[in-house]
Assembly symmetry: C2
Homo-oligomer: 455 residues x 2
């Protein structure tokens, strides 16, 4: 699709050059907001041209396009807008998108902008910003379609017609009692299929699935995914309806959460919302990556010390050193696999704490079955390279032990992290590699020292 | 939510024991299909009890519950159903869910079942099964709501009422011309907001976003995500409507694709659809993990040979061996980070081929900035452990070079794979670790041999 948009560049440039702004406006009307946002992030247009294009959009569309932009493009665009234009734009944005923007802007700018917003929108925004970053509250929109249980289907359809522009979705309608407490849910499908004089309470689904504003947004995503919902209601501790999370938000949440997990598993700091690695400067990239690298490097003092401790054995049989990378890497590979499989099982909710004993036994059995053929291949390699049956036996035995140990550590580390309330995804491949190295080297050289002494 | 379900177990057991099947049936009616599916996968119930529970469901609900089950639970349940019950169930399943099931069943079973299906459903199923596993065609449902452009809003609403049970969603309605070609799309929202006598062609969106049946299902997922759609139409090369992919399918697709990428990055074979690692037996687990482990182990012949080649240097200065794990691990860590960041950028569509030059330059700059502080820390560690300034200088210089090399290899490997049409996610942490080891050891010992010779 991107290529189609690139085809439009010369046309748009021509319109601008010839000052045919009315024609350009019509032209833009044929594009979807997401495609206009793509155009506004192209380097082919100057910032002034982008501002000009943006001003041609109607108020409502402008707000959608703006929400779709990357933060850096948003910021540049804001510089070109007058104070009035900025306020109009902010008023028209969805509260959740506005909260996302305010999150990234410097606090003094946010303060000024908040003062200029209408009291209602200001309150909406402040409420959202008060919830923690990964919570349901931060991601929800308060613009919900809600009705009373005594209304008829026809009355509800009238209400939908009246407020359709102001709410995020009309496909799910929430039913509240006199105290604004959530008591039911009706979808537009049931409305359309029902007779006009039927009361809502007769067709509503009672006790719909809900989340609380303090819940992790992943919970909302998992429930929407499980029950195939279009939206899920967000309630406070008294069951009052605060807002909804919609399925299109969930698609973004799922992508962000997967990226976060994948980054953590490679020992890179999780990206901030909407942040993309390739858009970061080299210095910003280093900031995301160096904390773990440095920590793990310092941890290697341990592996160096282990090796130094076996200085004598190593001097006596230098060929033992040839197989250090083979042993540590295989341990690291097995450990990475185990960690990844368990972390993913924890993330997708596949892991069931009641079955922890079975999980551990099955995985240790797996490591035994993995270890045997690898130890045999390791024996052959070591024999060929070192030409010493003793070294080959030591390498092969160590390989087997290292595989069993690494797999077990790779299994237990994420579970331990979960128990002590650290995100299991932190038990990354690099972390497990370092842990496994030290145990692997200790095993290898202890075995070597013992076996060689007896020969 | 799972705990709530566990609370129900004693009640259900009691109903079964007392043979109060009518009461049990009523009881089940209050549960959502997804929750019933959860109950049917609990170990607390015997297979006979599960079959009994399943038979109490009404025909339509049974098909939904069955689709939500894991394959192994589906298979066990099928053994308890009569041939007639099986056919009724299959006829009632959505064509995409049925294709998923047939995919997993042994071919001879599928053949028999297909013969018993109604000709219409048989054709649907065969069509779907003919598309490749990860294609849009395999994941789509042919049950689409479609109308003609000359119909009025009232006529369309009448049609919706008539066919609502047979189609996957009534929120998106597709408009076809006389030749069944897709010409537009109307959502239920526009219908509800329009007057009854308006013609569909006046309110429809022309040229809606679409995918082709042969496209990768990730394409459908990305478009639905980008344009915030409820569904996307699937057309053939002549633009005839074949089916739709809905947003709830996309949630499943996204989770599966993320798992696939994460597995590949840890050098584990991608799971099959709906397969979960923890449900595999130890032997099945080994089958997923051993191919890569074995290949990488054999590749370590190279690192052992490199070290053997520098036998003399190593014998002369045994303390060089102390820092082998530090060097290879840091290289592996930097390489894993780079690979992960690039692979994720490729998967989320963040990577733009036109900017490849800039990407490479920025990343190499990053590796220089990463390398400096790490080399300094490496110098200090090596000096402390080996007590030799020469060794410390060699370690520190090698660290810097290894970091720059590993980052560059980690960046280029996935890009190379993409060019030669291998999934970039294959350039996993374990693979990069092995590649980086060999280059790192060569660098370290070449430097050491050169510098020590001159002293």
């Amino acid at each position: 699709m991107l290529d189609i948009k690139r085809v439009l560049i010369p046309d748009i440039k021509e319109f601008i050059k010839e000052k045919e702004l009315e024609e350009l406006k019509d032209f833009l009307k044929h594009l979807k907001p997401q495609d206009i946002a793509d155009l506004l992030s192209l380097e082919e247009f100057s910032h002034a041209e982008k501002a000009l294009l943006f001003r041609l959009l109607d108020k409502h569309e402008a707000a959608i396009v703006f929400s779709e932009l990357y933060f850096e493009d948003q910021q540049k665009l804001l510089k070109y807008l007058s104070s009035n234009e900025t306020i109009t734009l902010l008023e028209d944005m969805d509260p959740d998108d506005r909260a996302l923007l305010f999150d990234e802007l410097p606090p003094e700018v946010v303060k000024q902008l908040l003062l200029k917003l209408s009291p209602e929108e200001r309150e909406h925004t402040l409420t959202l910003l008060n919830y923690p970053p990964d919570s349901v509250g931060r991601a929800m929109t308060p613009d919900v379609l809600n009705v009373q249980e005594d209304m008829t289907v026809d009355e509800v359809i009238q209400k939908i017609r009246a407020v359709s522009e102001e709410v995020e979705t009309i496909y799910d309608i929430y039913v509240l009692d006199k105290d604004e407490k959530l008591i039911g849910k009706v979808d537009l499908k049931s409305l359309v299929l029902s007779k006009g004089d039927v009361k809502i309470k007769e067709i509503m689904e009672k006790n719909p699935v809900y989340v609380r504003a303090q819940d992790d947004r992943e919970k909302a995503a998992n429930l929407i995914k499980k029950y195939d919902l279009i939206s899920i209601p967000v309630v406070d501790s008294e069951n009052k309806l605060l807002g909804i999370i919609t399925v299109d938000d969930v698609l973004d949440i799922m992508e962000q959460e997967a990226t976060e997990d994948i980054y953590k598993m490679a020992a890179v700091e999780a990206p901030e919302i909407e942040e993309e690695y390739l858009r970061l400067s080299p210095l910003e990239r280093v900031k995301k990556r160096i904390p773990w690298l440095l920590g793990l490097l310092v941890a290697e003092v341990a592996s160096s010390s282990v090796l130094k401790g076996f200085d004598e054995t190593l001097s006596a049989v230098v060929s033992l050193a040839f197989f250090i990378p083979m042993l540590t890497d295989t341990g690291g590979n097995v450990g990475s696999q185990a960690v990844t499989l368990i972390v993913r099982a924890l993330a997708t909710g596949e892991f069931n704490e009641k079955k922890i004993g079975k999980v551990i036994i099955h995985e240790i059995l797996t490591s035994f079955v993995l270890g045997l053929p690898l130890a045999i291949v390791g024996f052959i390699i070591a024999q060929l390279v070192s030409n010493s049956i003793h070294v080959a036996i030591i390498v092969s035995l160590s390989l087997f032990l290292v595989i069993v140990l690494s797999d077990t550590i790779g299994l237990l580390l994420p579970l331990l992290f979960r128990i002590i309330k650290i995100d299991p995804a932190v038990s990354s491949s690099p972390l497990i590699t370092t842990v496994v190295d030290i145990t692997g080297l200790l095993t290898y050289f202890t075995l070597a020292t013992l076996l060689l002494k007896n020969n």
